[in-house]
């Protein structure tokens, strides 16, 4: 994949599929590194599963026998002299505080890093597909932060209006576009 934003979309989909209803996506630019974290309250994984995760031949999906998402991300991290770590608490053993936190660090200015791509499309795609999940998105840069919280939007919209309605999606696109314009001007 040639856009970093597609990795973000793909990795966040793992949290969606794990049944999470709260998912925090954070991108933090700091000096030469970009740190990407996804924190969810989904079903989690056992320590053995976490260990196997960097093996492309591990997947719990039924439709094919290889999982590609995490191995792809790990490759990109290592190729830019970064790293990937996953902490997880399985529902079976941690019924009250289960979930997963994935942290990937990249050499942001490394020659093998790829363009960030369209983060706005990634956030919009997630909200369009899963309007009932509480996504939080923070892109922190030295020039400022772009922040979006579905919970905050839902507080304004009330119960009846879906975040996936087109009018709302368009507002979100406008909001994020302006947020990015603001930090790009600095």
């Amino acid at each position: 994949m040639e856009e970093f934003s597609l990795y973000v979309l793909d990795i966040t989909m793992n949290s969606v599929r794990a049944g999470a209803d709260k998912i925090e996506i954070k991108l933090e630019e700091q000096g030469d590194t970009l740190t990407f974290t996804v924190t969810d309250n989904g079903c989690g994984m056992s320590p053995e599963t976490v260990k196997k995760l960097s093996d492309p031949f591990f997947t719990t999906r039924k439709t094919r026998s290889v999982g590609l998402g995490v191995p792809f991300l790990k490759m990109l991290a290592e190729q830019t002299e970064g790293s990937l770590t996953i902490e997880s608490k399985e529902e079976a053993t941690h019924p009250d505080d289960h979930g997963t936190k994935l942290t990937a660090v990249f050499g942001y200015h490394h020659i093998d890093f790829i363009p960030l791509g369209n983060m706005i499309d990634t956030v919009m795609t997630l909200i369009q597909g899963y309007p009932d999940i509480d996504f939080t998105y923070d892109h922190i840069t030295p020039r400022g932060t772009v922040h979006l919280s579905c919970e905050e939007l839902r507080a304004v919209l009330g119960e009846d209006i879906s975040l996936a309605s087109y009018e709302v999606l368009e507002w979100i696109r406008g909001y994020l576009t302006e947020g990015y314009e603001e930090i790009d001007q600095k």
Partner: protein
């Protein structure tokens, strides 16, 4: 800056429509969004459907949803169209351009574009 006031205005405008909203989901467009789909270009395809359906005034009849891996990764991006009392139509190797055509000819016009369907591409 886009303000929460603007969002409130959207809410007020929509609140009257909410009741009618779920009246009929005659057609369901499902886009495969697993790693294989995303890597092959599913995100712009999905966006083209979301935008097109809204802009063509099809939102009352057509819902656009996402799914995981459909299981034939080499043909991604894959889009399935479900319509009441009709056979499922599976489009393969989709692009945003083809999505616009599908909206025009299939969703609006009622005629599936066989050239883009799985039967046609494989045989």
């Amino acid at each position: 800056m886009k303000s929460l006031e603007e969002l409130m205005a959207i809410r007020d405008k929509m609140q009257d429509k909410v009741a009618v909203r779920h009246a009929s989901d005659d057609i369901r467009v499902v886009v495969g969004m697993a790693t294989c789909g995303i890597a092959a270009g599913a995100r712009p395809v999905l966006n083209a459907f979301v935008e097109g359906v809204a802009n063509e005034g099809l939102a009352e009849r057509v819902t656009v949803t996402q799914t995981g891996c459909i299981g034939i990764c080499q043909y991604e991006p894959i889009v399935e169209v479900y319509e009441k009392d009709k056979e499922k139509v599976t489009y393969v190797k989709m692009t945003a351009e083809k999505a616009k055509e599908v909206i025009e000819r299939h969703l609006k016009g009622g005629k599936p574009i066989t050239e883009y369907t799985i039967g046609k591409v494989i045989s």
